[in-house]
């Protein structure tokens, strides 16, 4: 399997740092901000952002984990996807929620995530942060913060590897 490295470990870190700063800049600080990571790798990305904001602002943002399985629009076509827990231990009402995922593609995951969050309350704003925007959207969804924008061919796949679960850290394109 051929692969092309888009970001190596250092570049991943630099990109997350940049996204963090953009978030703080756009929201003029960290007040009323919260982070929700979409399982699985969005959670680790959101973790990193939380860490970086703590370093910069000295505050620890409310943090949540979202499993979108129950909100998917293709559930009946899947072979019993395992449901994992959604853990959002704070009140989303009137919060600015930064929704974090690794790769933005069709936009369907984000649609499901937005629905899931809205079932929990009425946030003031929901913003979207992704490490990679690979294009080819099927829904009118656009990221507020994108690490890199990288259109790929149909027969290619973008993989984000995070050291927490993949043992190494990089963003690669592989031919499928």
């Amino acid at each position: 399997m051929k692969k092309k490295v888009l970001l190596d470990k250092k570049a991943v870190d630099r990109t997350i740092t940049r996204i963090t700063h953009e978030i703080l800049e756009k929201n003029e600080g960290s007040e009323a901000l919260s982070l929700i990571g979409i399982r699985t790798r969005g959670v680790y990305l959101a973790n990193r952002i939380q860490e970086k904001i703590r370093n910069v602002e000295g505050t620890s943002l409310p943090f949540g984990v979202l499993d979108i399985t129950l909100y998917r629009d293709d559930i009946s076509k899947l072979k019993w996807p395992e449901v994992k827990k959604t853990e959002i231990p704070f009140d989303v009402n009137n919060m600015t929620v930064i929704l974090v995922d690794d790769v933005l593609h069709t936009g369907r995951t984000i649609r499901a995530a937005i629905d899931a969050i809205i079932d929990l309350g009425r946030p003031k704003k929901i913003q979207l942060a992704v490490l990679v925007d690979r294009g080819d959207r099927e829904l009118p969804i656009h990221p507020d913060y994108a690490g890199i924008v990288c259109p790929v061919n149909e027969n290619e796949e973008v993989l984000v590897r995070m050291s927490e679960i993949d043992g190494k850290e990089e963003v690669v394109i592989v031919k499928t």
């Binding site: 129950l70 559930i75 899947l78 072979k79 019993w80 996807p81 449901v83 827990k85 899931a116 079932d119």
Partner: protein, 307 residues
């Protein structure tokens, strides 16, 4: 875990892995019932029929709420309102219902094997909501869920079941699941309510309730099944109550952190005294709450994905 079942007919058929998978899935669903918007769109467009040939409030309501929280449409049919009284056979009723293309049918019936018969002839997923004296698999799963929640484990426990073991589908299903996990199960009740050969299931029999409950981690009370002729087996409910009614004195003999369970509906003052039913050891209302989560998990696993 690769879930492959179309139907949920009996506990005896399920592996430990399958049971734990259902319990784990149920954990994810439990939170939904605590939210303000107690609904997810997962089973939108799916239809669940509850077909009840026996009266039931708890199980039926629990299934209905579970289905609705997953956005499925539910239709309830009970024997006294359906054509059952006009002499239509179960098979014909089921075939007629299937023509309306439900995704799942929850059936409760007074005769063992009725759900199995439907499973053989219908494409819909069949869920056994209790078949005569045979099984009540969703009850056993919610009991296991409650035990795990309260005790932190599903094995190595001393569990005492008290009542009409012979005619109780709840007892049967629970014996199958709890023995599968390697628990010590003691059946206690008048000898007329203990079926012959019960020891082949790996359980112990103790006729004396005071002895049976000693050091018990879990006490499961069973309902005196008046509708199943349960009173044929004892001289009177008064005498039964004297011998097998669970009192605080019994609970005090059990382990300090004993939990007392009852599948409901309770005959207060007969098999269980108020002081126990409403006491600190009682987890009876937790069972009801967990029932919804477990049934959501079962509906999700049976009709959520591609068959």
């Amino acid at each position: 875990m690769n879930w492959k079942r179309k139907d949920l007919l009996d506990i005896r058929d399920l592996s430990k892995e399958e049971m734990l998978f259902i319990l784990d899935t149920a954990e994810s669903f439990k939170d939904i019932s605590k939210r303000e918007i107690k609904k997810v769109p997962t089973l939108r467009g799916k239809t669940v029929i509850t077909l009840f040939y026996e009266p039931s409030t708890r199980t039926r309501t629990s299934f209905e709420i579970a289905a609705k929280r997953l956005s499925a449409d539910t239709i309830n049919i009970s024997a006294n309102t359906s054509s059952a009284t006009k002499g239509e056979s179960l098979k014909d009723t089921a075939r007629n219902l299937e023509s309306m293309r439900p995704d799942a049918i929850v059936i409760r019936h007074s005769m063992p094997g009725a759900p199995h018969m439907l499973a053989r002839i219908l494409d819909s997923s069949i869920i056994n909501g209790g078949d005569g004296s045979h099984e009540h698999p969703t009850q056993a799963l919610l009991d296991l869920f409650t035990i795990r929640e309260k005790k932190g484990r599903t094995d190595g426990l001393k569990i005492v079941m008290v009542g009409d073991i012979a005619h109780s589908r709840v007892a049967r299903s629970n014996i199958f699941s709890l023995k599968n996990f390697g628990n010590e199960v003691i059946c206690c009740g008048p000898p007329t309510m203990i079926p012959p050969h019960i020891e082949t299931l790996g359980v112990h029999v103790e006729y004396d309730l005071e002895k049976a409950v000693r050091n018990a981690d879990v006490i499961m009370m069973l309902r005196i099944q008046k509708e199943r002729g349960g009173t044929k087996y004892i001289p009177s409910t008064k005498e039964y109550s004297t011998l097998y009614g669970l009192t605080k004195k019994h609970v005090d003999r059990a382990a300090d952190d004993v939990i007392v369970m009852h599948p409901g509906p309770m005959n207060r003052g007969i098999e269980i005294m108020d002081e126990v039913a409403d006491g600190p050891s009682s987890v009876i209302l937790d069972q009801v709450e967990n029932g919804v989560a477990v049934r959501m998990a079962i509906l999700y696993l049976l009709i959520g994905g591609e068959p």
